[in-house]
Amino acid sequence: MTTTAKKWLERIHALPLEGVTKIMNVCGGHERSITMAGLRKVLPDEIELVPGPGCPVCICPEEDVFEAIQLALNEDIILIAFGDMLRVPVNVSKTRARTLEQAKAAGADIRPIATPREAVDIAAQNPDKAVVFFAAGFETTTAPVASMLVQGVPKNLFILLSGRLTWPAVAMLLDSGQAAFQTLIAPGHVATVMGPEEWQFVPEEHKMPAAVAGFSPESLLAAMYSVLRQRVEGKAFLDNCYPELVRAGGNPTAQAQLKTSMDVVDANWRGIGVIPQSGFALSEAYAQHNARKQFPSYAEDARKRAGEMPPGCDCAKVVLGQIYPDQCRLYANACVPRNPVGPCMVSDEGACRIWWSGGVRKNAVS
């Protein structure tokens, strides 16, 4: 740990904290940094760091993954997706493909990509084939998809968009009155793109201390100190502990590109349900690239129990910060990274997988 990080830690230890304070983060990158740097072990016992809705793969609706699998299996297309999505399971009988990876093994043309530019390249290289880009992600990932569209894409590229906004999930938690945390650390790269102002509602409407943090232990500890000190002093404002990247207003060019190509709509979150104004959908101007409009829907009503997780999987509670990963009965038992049961163990941003990588190898309840 660097000297600056140690200094922040000392300051945190010197605060006159009373009772337990829970600090929620809403970014898989934050959770990774916290876990890998071992911050939980060095903070005072009264501070609990709660991973929240920070994993876009985990909350991507089951029906969207199902749709992508069915499109890949039944249509004459190339399906591309960010690599993380390939192992996310849906709830179907064992005889059917449960993941994109299994659909690929069954003969579907499915290719993982690392950037939307690859989607454009693959479509350009296969002009006679329809290419469907299953694009799941939060603002930081959806903005590049918007940028790609605005710059111009081949006719044969279609987007199966599953983009989500992070702040409405936090707003939903706070509005429910059941938020099990007292302070919030806001996601640094989401704020870099969208601007920190999006998080102003946390202190203003809910009188809850908040701070935008970067990904170094220094920045995270500075943000923790900020929200804890606000709490001790009975204040609530939005601090920016990542000023090197997060500017007032964010990245206006990226926001303009999002606005041109996408609308903000009510959207379903896996295991959570519909959250108002929390999703991106392609705007009318881009309807010719909208896979949802250009291909038949494979939704099966009988199967469509909204927001379902695999049986026994507590991802929904993990994502909402209601339990810690190792409190799911399957953690480290039936569910391990080699054989993941739920999406939180599949994705690098999933709290279950992060905790496992960080060395938590035992179940806390069984």
């Binding site: 993380d84 690392a114 870099t192 170094s216 990247l245 990274p337 690098d348």
Partner: protein
């Protein structure tokens, strides 16, 4: 998925740049930063192949120290998964 990586701009061809970090070069789109003045030698934070913001060299360096730590831990897991019997 929301973690951007700092890279140095090596060359620019309109909206596409070649950027480098840790000796690895990548094509990076500058389309989201088209209203900023970006030149070879500058540092940018790159997410899924798109530069999302400029960053100073010093900040790029300190960010890399953190990522090295994270990546090492994840590599260890990846190896464990490969080595594991029945994987």
């Amino acid at each position: 998925m929301c973690l951007g990586i700092p890279m140095q701009v090596k060359s620019i061809d309109q909206y596409q740049a070649i950027c480098e970090a840790k000796g690895i070069e990548r094509d990076v789109s500058l389309f989201m930063l088209q209203d900023e003045d970006i030149r070879p030698g500058d540092f940018v934070v790159v997410h899924v192949g798109y530069a999302i913001q400029k960053i100073s060299q010093q900040e790029a360096q300190s960010a890399w120290e953190v990522y090295d730590q994270m990546l090492a831990a994840e590599d260890a897991l990846a190896e464990e998964l490969v080595d594991a019997p029945g994987a």
